[in-house]
Symmetry: C2
DNA sequence: CTGAAAGCGCTTACAG
DNA sequence: CTGAAAGCGCTTACAG
């Protein structure tokens, strides 16, 4: 049952042509006559031949694999991104090799692995070590793009949504909804994403002449976000609205508010998230949130990466604006309907 | 900045040894004297040498990559499995190449890709085409194990939880809780997982002398599960408990019950799921469910797969029992405390 | 369009 | 333990 290994040499022999001819038939765009082509195809089918991708990759230096490094998959945004990335990449003839970066993994270790597998390009889609990893791979000459993460210095390619604008939109919406005691549980403030959303939000509020009653770093952790929620609402002067740095934390915030503190969302406290992952639309949360246009972000990421692989394109920083998705977790300003 | 490609030949030259020596130093378990070893290591570091995994893979026939085919990542069980799989595999020196099987992809296409990348083994962790894909790869001589899916015929290796037992446990728990009008929205009944849970459940109920008031195929779809919930509860004689074939659907069932039909869970209707994904523990759902011991399942999967890669081990069917995790979505039988 | 030959970067018997 | 040589399965100038 086990298919014996059949090589291009075998096919060539069977078809009565040279190995070169076989190679050409299986190389898109290479020149081969119709006659040769059909002889080769026929022989290949008879023998069950399949070109050895590894050998081809070694010769051409093109492995057709992209390394995707991701930190953890519990926040639904990342599995969704992975799914889209796979589709977009597959459409271009690439495959994904997964590199989960646990926090106790060393950056050097991961970089070693990425490089030794000769990935043609790298997409980092996570927190913490992204920048380090990206920088080192970039320095080693392999194209990288940071997905959903930026960095101010350096010249790495990156695609994010327009986080500053998103934060500002939330500020406007909340202010228009009549809120004046607004807190922010931010995304990790060491990440551009967390920082930009916070900045846009604070600036937006400032334009209305107010400041957030609190800004605390939730570090993308549900546990930390819950703790902050508790301490925020423990005071007699609790906030009447909370903007949370991503949906994943926002779910924990809502749960804490409702089931632990006995508060109503949005009657007592409005909550707004960021991402618009599928769960945000589930009725239990019905979360008002800024939608990250994941499809566009993924397409842009793939475009930039492949451009860099094919020729040494300049670095780019792409920001894609995302709309506010109004649902039921935050008071709606007059005149707004869902 | 771009590191020039440095080969084992270069290192050999610099270290004053043969290429074979270099190869041996980088091959775990190969014999090389301490002197040679240190010369080579030194030269390698100076030159920034890194063995080319592709070349090695081509020679040895061992790519050290495992193909993981997965259908979709919205059900949190699969990203979690992926994360665990990556860790377990990495610990053994393997990496994951991802193959998302969209429904409109042809089985043949996917199999072609898997084979041409010379993956050493395959794990299928999804629905629909799993069996087809697995069978063809197995026939081609490449080791496969079905994760969270079985099949009655054939001799493919597979690891699941003990789904029959799980279904039975749910039946006992619900009966003990005083329920007598119990419906089942099953997992896809063409999958062993869906079928086994259903059978165990029906059998379990039968032992108490009752039958489910309805068994409908939810096909792992939230949308379908919601529709079934609606029609089930539309009747004056609605069920007082629903066992749902997986957590992912159970969330939709609970949302439909509460927010659309205005029913209380568990006061009007008890709901029980299957999987115990992280979301099940979120207070909004607080779902009573059968826990699939994902860690053990993943470890078993990796063990079986690697055993088959290393030597031609016999096929295995592993079933790992999982406990009922009692939370708040179903009435608790007297005497039970959380 | 086609074939003979060289080569990709490594590993593996085979001698020593 | 070590090196020279052959070879893994393919692609790519180079001639024709």
């Amino acid at each position: 049952m086990m298919a014996d290994k059949v090589t291009s040499f075998d096919v060539a022999r069977q078809a009565g042509v040279s190995q070169s001819a076989v190679s050409r038939v299986f190389t898109p765009g290479a020149s081969a006559s119709a006659a040769t082509r059909s002889k080769v195809i026929k022989a290949a089918e008879e023998l069950g031949y399949r070109p050895n991708t590894l050998a081809r990759a070694m010769i051409t230096g093109k492995s057709r694999v992209i390394g995707v490094v991701v930190a953890y998959l519990e926040n639904q945004f990342y599995p969704m991104a992975l799914e889209h990335l796979d589709h977009a990449l597959k459409a271009r003839g690439y495959h994904i090799m997964l590199f989960m970066a646990k926090n106790d993994d060393s950056v050097g270790q991961i970089v070693e692995e990425l490089m030794s597998y000769q990935v043609e390009g790298i997409i980092t889609a996570s927190v913490a070590m992204s920048n380090d990893i990206a920088k080192r791979c970039h320095d080693a000459g392999i194209p990288v793009v940071l997905f959903n993460r930026g960095q101010d210095t350096g010249n790495l390619a990156q695609v994010t949504s327009d986080n500053v604008k998103g934060g500002r939109t939330v500020a406007n919406f909340l202010f228009a909804g009549g809120h004046r005691k607004i807190a922010h549980i931010s995304g990790w403030l060491e990440s551009s994403t967390g920082l930009d959303r916070m900045r846009g939000f604070v600036d937006g509020l400032a334009e209305h002449g107010i400041a957030p009653v609190a800004v605390e770093d939730g570090r993308y952790s549900q546990k930390i976000a819950s703790e902050i929620t508790r301490s925020l609402c423990d005071s007699p002067d609790r906030p009447d609205a909370i903007f949370v740095g991503n949906d994943h934390m926002a779910f924990a915030v809502m749960d804490t508010l409702r089931f632990e503190l006995g508060l109503s969302v949005p009657d007592d406290v409005s909550v707004i998230g960021y991402d618009d992952v599928p769960i945000a639309a589930w009725p239990a949360y019905d979360l008002t949130t800024i939608r990250q246009p994941i499809n566009q972000m993924v397409n842009a990421t793939v475009d930039v990466l492949l451009a860099r692989i094919e020729n040494d394109a300049a670095s780019e920083r792409i920001q894609i604006p995302g709309p506010l998705k109004i649902r039921g977790s935050a008071k709606k300003p007059k005149g707004f309907t869902r």
